[in-house]
């Protein structure tokens, strides 16, 4: 059976996480920033599954499910917050959302 080093998966996961951090820092649209957070969560999920394969333990895959549940809850609440912000500010640019209270 052909094998490859597990560290390749970890490097891919690190690249995805760094892309997410970069997007979080340089993007100015609040929805795109939110998508960058999802990208970071995906990178972490890949390293969970990779380490599960290394230690021959399925707990890593169970944790991926919990991360997905938290991501779904976060997406629901976060997008609701975005809608509420858009209603009061009429903008999605985070530079113009500089006050928590209007």
């Amino acid at each position: 059976m052909e094998t490859i080093p597990l560290s390749y998966y970890l490097v891919l996961s690190g690249i995805l996480f760094v892309c997410g951090v970069l997007g979080f820092l340089i993007k100015r649209n609040i929805i795109t920033i939110f998508m960058s957070i999802e990208l970071m969560l995906n990178g972490v999920n890949l390293s969970f599954v990779a380490f599960a394969a290394q230690w021959h333990s399925l707990s890593g895959q169970i944790f991926v499910f919990f991360v997905m549940v938290v991501a779904a809850a976060e997406a629901a609440v976060g997008l609701a917050i975005i809608i509420a912000v858009y209603r009061t500010r009429e903008t999605l640019n985070v530079d113009q959302v500089n006050l928590l209270k209007l």
Binding site: P5, V11, L12, L22, N45, A50, H56, Q61, A73, A84
Partner: protein, 188 residues
């Protein structure tokens, strides 16, 4: 060889989608490239043998969550992003810093860590074994996540309900007689 080729194929698609997410200025293009990233990540999970995680990744992440994102983008009619001027310090120090950090992490992982070799489908990750773990050993966390989901649903409903709509609902709880109805009552 086959494993490496498949890994590289889906890995390149994955990274290209992630970079495209950063490069696009319209949020709908970013959302579509994020779907590409998630779909190719599902293929990577399949290579590691996590079949059920791959299926859930496609159904929940690429399906449900991204539909929610695209729904909000279209609901809010999000246009092209306005660029703000980046700070010079970030470009001078940040970009080399990120590059050096990424190279260090990759070098450490590739040559200084004793990670094992994996074959295609090395792990048993089918629904049966996952369910055995999830409903026995991790039953309590699983039940707690249902409470979390419930709270998230209620939070989303509370956050998106308009304040004037809430006020109107309070008004109808203590109804005052409308003028037309009062007039209609006098005619009888």
């Amino acid at each position: 060889m086959l494993h490496l080729l498949l890994f590289l194929f889906f890995g390149v698609i994955c990274v290209a989608g992630a970079i495209n997410l950063l490069a696009q200025s319209h949020p709908i293009n970013s959302a579509l490239s994020l779907i590409v990233v998630m779909a190719s990540l599902a293929a990577e999970y399949l290579l590691l043998g996590a079949e059920f995680v791959a299926a859930v990744q496609v159904i929940v992440y690429a399906g449900a969550i991204m539909v929610l994102f695209i729904f909000v983008i279209m609901l809010l009619n999000a246009g092209t992003e306005e660029h703000t001027k980046g700070s010079r310090v970030a470009i001078i120090f940040g970009v080399p810093g990120v590059l050096i950090g990424a190279v260090l992490v990759a070098w450490t992982l590739l040559y200084r860590s004793n990670t094992s070799q994996v074959a295609i489908g090395a792990m048993p990750g089918g629904p049966y074994v996952i369910a055995q773990l999830l409903f026995r050993r991790f039953l309590l966390p699983f039940e707690i996540t249902s409470v979390l989901i419930l709270i998230a649903i209620m939070g989303a409903v509370v956050l998106t309900s308009r304040p004037d709509a809430v006020a109107k609902r309070h008004d109808t709880e203590t109804p005052e007689p409308l003028p037309e109805l009062v007039g209609a009552g006098k005619e009888h």
